[in-house]
Subunit: 284 residues, 2 copies
């Protein structure tokens, strides 16, 4: 596995591969890799000839009071994990390689950035859109793989790809969960034992919502949301939001249908914020 | 010359050319082609194997009270002119091909968009940045040629290209002028005879400023600006702005130096707004 720090070098490498007729995939990450990330790499490898994993803690997607400084970093372990998956190149630039002095271009996917996580994190999705666009231009992939756990991000990246005319296939890979249901996240390691127990309320709420719907199309979204609130409250979590929205455009559904997704964000304690989501009428 | 309306088709064509090893250039225009545009095409042809001219009146770069509806259009004449220059493909999409329903991604080059024309036209440069990014992705050029008349736009496009990691050489081509000095612009055809005479004040102010500077580095920018105001006022124009700024970052200069550009915008009558600019210490 090549470890590449410079934009120029990873760009040349990808171009060289493409000239040989290889299909190239990109898996963008912020490092601190867990099984969820590794599943994205496996997916990427299964559909292309060469896989690039980017590892970059993107300052622009953190607000001023968010956890940029404390965001977990484990470079050596990440290298081993990516190498273990047979990744071809790990692109791990320094911050100033991505955002040099006088950098000033921002990209916004306006409607999709507003609700849900965008409410609590007003600069987040602009930062995501900007770095994803840069990574697309730098690594010129044929395929990019994103996790479904970051559901709003996935929908937004699909829209950006279409709006900006990228010929890149965006693959959303299934959420990877711990045995007890907790969706894997780099932020899970912030949790102490009590927080870890509370955090189960997210997947429990999703499970309960699916039970409640049981394949019926006529269930009111509000019923699902009320149930979610109840479960999160009882577990001692603080519900940031729970919505039932269309999987393609994030517009709220009044009644559950086959394109409905339940998405929620919960604060555990003062500073840990976790998200989870699921389609309500199909296994996902 | 191929006339192409669809994104998919021009993208395939450019890819086909690049696979053959051809270098491809893009000349973005809003049509209503004049000698200035044709000089951009000649420049593009001289440095690449295949030249694409885009012809698209970009609604997003017009504010609500600007001249989108009245902006001059002459499709047949434009085709002949581009063909006469030996252009390989004319890309002339319908508005909904570029901005389909639910389009919502915007790009902003924040600092460079604020002053000068950005003051009077707050949405203009966001629209320019967005369409240029799309055109770059659609036509995947090696070279793109922009006119120096739109000086702020050129600086902004260079910054966007760098910030978003495009491997595209941006060429700024010299301003093309009428015999009496008026910079060529599609908007010149809005001018009646009196307006046409008034419009000469832009190039006259530039000429006077160069005379005033005469190659010296120590001239105060304010002296140049005052002179410009006087000439525009005397001619009956309404000065929107006159600035002496650094050619790379648009930061105002206190004293004229070899990187100083005088840029100005003048309203002729109620609704016609013309711009012009020049480096002050070198012929351009």
């Amino acid at each position: 596995m090549k470890i590449v720090h410079s934009v120029r070098e990873i760009n040349s490498l990808s171009k060289k591969w493409k000239k040989k007729g290889y299909k190239v995939s990109l898996v963008p990450t912020m490092g601190c890799l867990h099984e969820g990330h590794l599943s994205l790499m496996r997916k990427a490898k299964s559909v292309t000839d060469k896989t690039i994993v980017s590892l970059f803690v993107n300052s622009k997607q953190f607000g001023p009071n968010e956890d940029l400084d404390s965001y977990p970093r484990q470079f050596q372990a990440d290298c081993s994990l990516a190498e273990g998956e047979g990744v071809d190149a790990l692109f791990c630039p320094e911050p100033e390689e991505i955002y040099p002095e006088n950098f000033q271009t921002s990209i916004n996917v306006t409607l999709l950035s507003q609700g849900m996580c965008g409410k609590d994190r007003p600069v987040h999705f602009g930062g995501v859109a900007t770095v994803v666009t840069k990574l697309f231009n730098i690594t010129i992939p044929d395929v990019a793989v994103f996790g479904k756990k970051d559901f709003q991000q996935l929908v937004l990246v699909r829209q950006l790809t279409k709006d900006l005319n990228y010929n890149i296939e965006i693959i959303g890979a299934p959420i990877f969960r711990e045995k007890d249901g907790l969706a894997m996240s780099s932020r899970n390691r912030y949790l102490d034992d009590a927080g870890r127990r509370t955090a189960l309320c997210l997947s429990q709420a999703i499970h309960a919502a699916k039970e409640l719907v049981k394949g019926r199309q006529d269930v009111a979204a509000n019923t699902v949301i009320e149930k979610t609130k109840e479960i999160v409250d009882n577990a001692g979590g603080k519900l940031d939001y729970a919505v039932v929205v269309n999987e393609f455009n994030l517009i709220p559904d009044k009644f559950v249908n086959k394109h409905s997704v339940l998405a929620l964000a919960v604060k555990i304690g003062d500073s840990i914020r976790l998200i989870d989501n699921s389609k309500l009428m199909m296994a996902s």
